[in-house]
């Protein structure tokens, strides 16, 4: 009994710093945002301390009734952002899944080398790496020069400041987040299960669908979540590679806080992003719990 309480004390002490840290730097700011999203914007930034529901009204299309007209532009931006984030998830998944399989089959030394290569970008600033993509994608950039040299195009392609550029940048940034969880689940895959499936007469495709996929699914889902959440709120990539032509929900938040100085509206937009993510997570968790209880 005494040992147990000592253990509990030790656990409390060990967990205290991280709990405090999260409370101070995550929960309290989140609370502030939630409160701000329901306040009136101040004239020169800041907030007026009176309840104001038009921040959310504006997002859903109903303007404040004085200057603006009914317009669902913000919902459209949210929809487009979700679409771009989903495309990023699908692209990274399509790239990482086969690569992770391939790497997992290599001898240990080469494996470690490739894992190192995949995590290498973490050692450089993301901004620097995105500017490199600007150099590659702009009209006189590397991509266009190469294509022209190969004779595939005569006019430079319009790559910069397009949705394509944003997708390329996002996929590039988030590949490690998709790769690592998938790789670790493939690495854990018991090859004797694959052999057993073949042995029992299942074709390679059936083996993949019935044995491999269910085994690596947790890694795939983890990867999808890890990519979807930061891509949905991302504003750096669309800023640098999408310019003013591709505005994502993250850019809207950034603009409201830094340029329009409408903190409550920015806070409300942030709350909507958080709500969308929590909803998706809840659906996923619900399905996991249901699948577990079916067993």
């Amino acid at each position: 009994m005494r040992a147990l309480s000592r253990e509990t004390t030790a656990l409390t002490l060990l967990l205290a710093p991280v709990t405090l840290f999260l409370a101070i730097f995550f929960l309290i700011p989140l609370g502030i945002m939630a409160v701000y999203s329901l306040l009136e914007p101040g004239l020169y930034g800041g907030v007026e301390w009176s309840f104001y529901h038009w921040n959310y009204g504006r997002i859903l299309g109903w303007a404040d009734g004085f200057i603006e007209e009914f317009d669902i532009v913000y919902l459209q931006v949210l929809g487009r952002s979700m679409g771009l984030a989903a495309l990023t998830v699908i692209s990274t998944l399509l790239i990482c899944f086969p690569v992770a399989f391939w790497i997992s089959r290599l001898p240990a030394k080469q494996k470690n080398f490739f894992i190192f290569l995949i995590t290498l970008p973490f050692f450089t600033s993301m901004i620097v790496r995105l500017y490199a993509w600007v150099l590659i994608l702009r009209d006189s950039g590397f991509a266009n020069q190469l294509l022209e040299w190969l004779g595939l195009i005569s006019e430079p392609l319009d790559l910069m400041f397009t949705g394509t550029a944003v997708i390329i940048g996002m996929v590039y940034i988030f590949i490690p987040f998709m790769f690592l969880p998938i790789y670790s689940s493939i690495e854990k895959l018991d090859m004797s299960l694959v052999q057993a499936s073949q042995d029992l007469g299942a074709s390679p495709f059936t083996t993949f669908r019935r044995i491999v996929l269910p085994s690596v699914m947790p890694g795939v889902i983890a990867g999808c979540i890890l990519v979807f959440i930061p891509s949905l709120g991302n504003f750096v990539v669309p800023d640098l590679l999408g310019g003013a032509r591709v505005v994502m929900i993250g850019n809207l938040v950034e603009q409201q806080f830094l340029y329009a100085r409408n903190w409550p509206f920015g806070a409300a937009l942030s709350m909507v992003i958080i709500a969308v993510m929590m909803l998706l997570m809840a659906v996923y968790l619900f399905r996991v719990v249901k699948a577990d209880s079916n067993r």
Partner: protein, 372 residues
């Protein structure tokens, strides 16, 4: 059976011809996993591939299953060439050492997997799953998950999953190695009974010689990628073809010597100071041979028993160990060679350092041609 067959077609069911498989080691060497293997196996035989680790037994099994390729050679099953078929098209099934049960599927789905991918309809499938589970003594556990079963039960499910497909050959890759001794011995007998009941060929890989002797119709002793001997358990035990087989299967006392005299009834072999009589009539004077005696082929002589018609060795007792029904005596000959004898009865009066008279029959003496 057709008269055109000069050989017994029944033992021609699974044929392995000149199977060669070499592996390159990371250090740049070559491991000869299979170095020209030839086998003829019958349609309903229980065959054990026995040998030390690295002898090629598991490689051979994997090649038959289709998980490993052959450098050269040929394998036919029921007159059908196997090597061109990919693993999932071969009419063989494997019981894996790790069982390899699908953790996300119930026992019933595991057992029915092969039937399902073969397109067997559900009612028949359910019935056959039930029958297979009943055969391995696990009726009615279809709904459970593999993780809810004990090691022994998982083993049986793996077995049911393989036999439910009625394979032409069942391959078993050291399936009992993870079980405790008691359960292992029980499973050995059950496996043998199951094989007799099903009447299909079992190809069983093990490094455990006791297991091999207990279950097999015939044993293939492998060493360094070559077949050392293929024979019934009795043949392998009493008439080992090589020194390796003699040493690997059971305990043996081997003496190296030279034939000094032979006649119509056998030969005398001079092994250092010992002259050993054998009834082997295929020896000629001057040839180098090794003679083998199993520990249980010795009897202990005392003042009351006579050695009429028997050969006698004199040795000094070094150690006597009670092993249940018998005593294991470790003795030393005058030449310095250690020998082991397994004797029945009371040995309490024996004292370490005491000279013993060990008798053996010349009919028991087995000779192995010495290889230089």
């Amino acid at each position: 059976m057709s008269i055109a067959f000069s050989h017994n077609p029944a033992s021609d069911y699974l044929r392995v011809r000149n199977a060669v498989r070499h592996f390159n080691t990371p250090e740049g060497g070559v491991v000869k996993a299979l170095d020209g293997i030839n086998l003829n196996i019958g349609q309903s035989e229980f065959i054990t591939l026995l040998g030390p680790s690295g002898c090629g037994k598991t490689t051979l099994l994997k090649i038959i299953a289709g998980f490993e390729r052959l450098d050269s050679g040929k394998i036919t099953l029921d007159s059908q060439t196997l090597l061109e078929l990919s693993a999932h098209r071969r009419p063989v099934n494997t019981v894996f050492q790790s069982y390899a049960l699908f953790p996300h599927m119930s026992v019933g789905d595991n057992v029915g997997y092969g039937l399902e991918v073969a397109g067997v309809k559900k009612p028949e499938r359910v019935q056959r799953i039930g029958e297979a589970l009943e055969m391995v003594g696990l009726a009615g556990i279809e709904k459970r998950l593999p993780s809810q079963l004990s090691g022994g039960q998982q083993q049986r499910v793996a077995l049911a999953r393989a036999i439910v497909n009625r394979p032409k050959v069942l391959l078993l890759d050291e399936p009992l190695s993870a079980l405790d001794r008691h359960l292992r011995m029980k499973m050995q007998i059950e496996l043998k009974n199951l094989q007799t009941e099903l009447g299909i060929c079992f190809l069983f890989v093990t490094h455990d010689q006791e297991e091999a002797l207990t279950m097999s119709d015939r044993i293939v002793v492998l060493n360094g990628g070559k077949v050392e001997q293929l024979g019934t358990p009795t043949e392998i035990y009493h008439r080992p073809a090589s020194r390796f087989v003699a040493d690997f299967i059971g305990e043996s006392n081997v003496f190296e010597g030279k034939v000094v005299r032979f006649d119509d009834f056998g030969a005398d072999v001079q092994c250092g100071e010992l002259l050993i009589r054998t009834e082997d009539r295929n020896l000629i004077t001057g040839s180098a041979v090794e003679v083998m005696l199993r520990p249980e082929q010795f009897t202990l002589l005392d003042s009351s028993t006579s050695a009429a018609g028997q050969q006698v060795l004199t040795a000094t007792l070094e150690q006597a160990v009670f092993v249940g029904s018998d005593h294991q005596l470790v003795c030393r000959l005058a030449s310095g060679q250690q020998i082991s004898a397994l004797v029945r009865g009371h040995c309490h009066h024996l004292q370490v350092g005491q000279p013993l008279q060990l008798a053996y029959s010349s009919a028991d003496v087995h000779t192995i041609p010495a290889v230089f």
